[in-house]
């Protein structure tokens, strides 16, 4: 009971702080925080597979980029309104996940390698198919989203919009992972053969999780393109897929706040380090190494371990 109320209080404090942020933060911080929400959402999509289903997907940037590109191309080149372009982006990214979902036929290291290769298809497509995607330059001048005459043009308005979407997603995600479906995913992560002998169609469960993960990543992609107002092949790169999975792990895999905390730490650290140290990619690499070796359960795991007064520390696998 105590643990539960602790969690609720923390969630309420976090939401209150997020709501109040625009009152105190300057544009630099607002940009960074919005970015943290969007990447946090992408990291959450990684963690549905990683933290619950035990699958490590390295092609999440593909869904993100396909959704973002679809929305951008429809809006900029064909002049469709947001009400068409944004859902189309979501659908395109999710359809790609439906297609790529065949990767769940494999497990373990094969799954990792295959998703890397699948991710490169999209990167190659957006990079080389220049006549359609704009190649290296990408798609620029994406207008602010507007629905039925209302335009979400100001930075603060868009901040609140992203925050609302993220909170709704977090609630939906919470329901999902606490459902029997979420339980069976964790059952598969624990022991797939056991779940199979209990009569579960494990591959179908993993496939469904993969598609839902693709949907969340696509949502992040649509939010990203309206936030950034342009999109280029970097969004589809392997590096993005790796970075968001690191965010999920740094924050705490298997939790909801973890990926967002991880996104905050990662983006905050990168911004800070790159302002005074030339080798900032090396520093990020060192963070990878340190996390894997010393904090595999992430920041949430560290906090759980040191939080006083609440029973025994739980071992997060």
């Amino acid at each position: 009971m105590k643990v539960r109320s602790y969690g609720v209080v923390m969630a309420l404090i976090a939401i209150a702080a997020a709501l109040a942020a625009p009152l105190v933060a300057d544009p630099f911080w607002m940009t960074l925080i919005t970015q943290i929400y969007i990447y946090g959402l992408l990291a959450l999509s990684v963690d549905l597979l990683l933290g619950h289903a035990g699958l490590y997907s390295l092609c999440q940037a593909s869904f993100f980029a396909v959704a973002a590109y679809t929305t951008a191309i429809l809006q900029v080149r064909y002049g469709y309104p947001t009400i068409v372009a944004a859902p189309a982006g979501l659908i395109a990214g999710t359809l790609l996940a439906v297609l790529y979902g065949s990767a769940v036929r494999t497990r373990g290291v094969y799954f990792i390698l295959i998703t890397i290769a699948l991710g490169y298809i999209i990167w190659g497509a957006v990079y080389r198919w220049a006549s359609f995607t704009g190649g290296d330059n990408g798609i620029t001048n994406v207008p602010p989203p507007s629905v039925a005459g209302f335009s979400i043009a100001s930075q603060t308005a868009y901040y609140y919009f992203v925050l609302t979407v993220v909170i709704l997603c977090a609630f939906g995600y919470r329901i999902l992972i606490r459902s029997p479906f979420g339980l069976s995913l964790r059952g598969i992560k624990g022991s797939e053969s056991r779940m199979q002998s209990l009569g579960y169609r494990t591959t179908m469960h993993l496939y469904a999780a993969f598609v839902i993960s693709g949907l969340i990543a696509s949502l992040a992609g649509v939010l990203y393109v309206y936030y950034n107002r342009f999109i280029n092949p970097v969004a589809a790169s392997f590096q993005i897929s790796v970075e968001v999975s690191l965010m999920a792990i740094v924050g705490g895999s298997g939790t909801i706040v973890g990926p967002f905390i991880g996104a905050g730490v990662f983006l905050g650290l990168r911004n800070w380090v790159s302002s005074f140290f030339e080798l900032h990619t090396a520093v990020m690499g060192a963070v990878f190494i340190a996390t894997v070796l010393w904090a595999p359960s992430g920041i949430v795991g560290l906090v759980e371990r040191w939080r006083p007064g609440i029973g025994k520390p739980k071992d997060q696998p």
């Binding site: 390295l58 494999t106 990792i112 390698l113 890397i116 080389r128 198919w129 894997v292 070796l293």
Partner: protein, 286 residues
Amino acid sequence: MHSGILQAINGVSFAALLFLLASGFTLSFGLMRVVNMAHGAYYLFGGYIGLSITRYTGSFALGVLGGGLAVIPLGYLIDRFLIRRTGENHLAQVLLTVGIAFVLGDVALKIWGGDSLKVPTPIELRGAIELPGGIIYPAYRFVLIVFSVFVGLSLWLLYRKTQIGAVVRAGVDDREIVSAIGINIDRLFVLVSALASFLAGMAGVVGGAFLTLYPGAEWEILVYALVVVIFGGLGSLEGAMIGALIVGLLDAYGRWLLPEFSYFVLFGPMAVLLLFRPRGIFGREG
């Protein structure tokens, strides 16, 4: 017709390079169950060091040898003190080695700068060879093919016909039994990982002479190597040979016939193959 043959030679010579890189990757996975995403960074580092050696001494052969040798201690330290600690957790290995690759890539950028650099080749290899039928082709790439066939043959003989190879193959099949019958498996690991590092570093110098070296090259070449081992099957030397040929040819013809979709030409067949044979052509269940 001419350009068709030309593309075939292009593909085979690229395959020759890919084999050098993928063979080490696949062997170290086969024996140690290590997925080393820093393999591309070894390639880049070896290439840069070889470049510096070639510039300093003026000898391309020394550069190739030195580039390969220089990566061995680096690979050993990374293997011994970092990768070994992750045990059999592939997820941790992938993240860890990607982190290592980021560090190495950034250090290389700091040392050798961001421009694309070409390893200077000796004068004798700079010309072109005229083939029967009037096809003119750079001599360097022919030498690369011959070199790679030589390396591949030596590896194959080492792997299939010598006692060390027999022990390594036994280790791939069952590590515990091999160490139980009194073979020092640790020494074997060091040997194979040194060989893998050497091959990657050497590939960097050889590849740097026609693909050039630049920041980000490590990831581009690594993805090709991954596709090679996915096609051929992880842990299989023969698979790496066949896989390299398939990837090299698909890539060459893809770039030629469908330049905007060359990645589809490469990855599309891979995806289809995986649907029917998730472990590649030579991969085994396990």
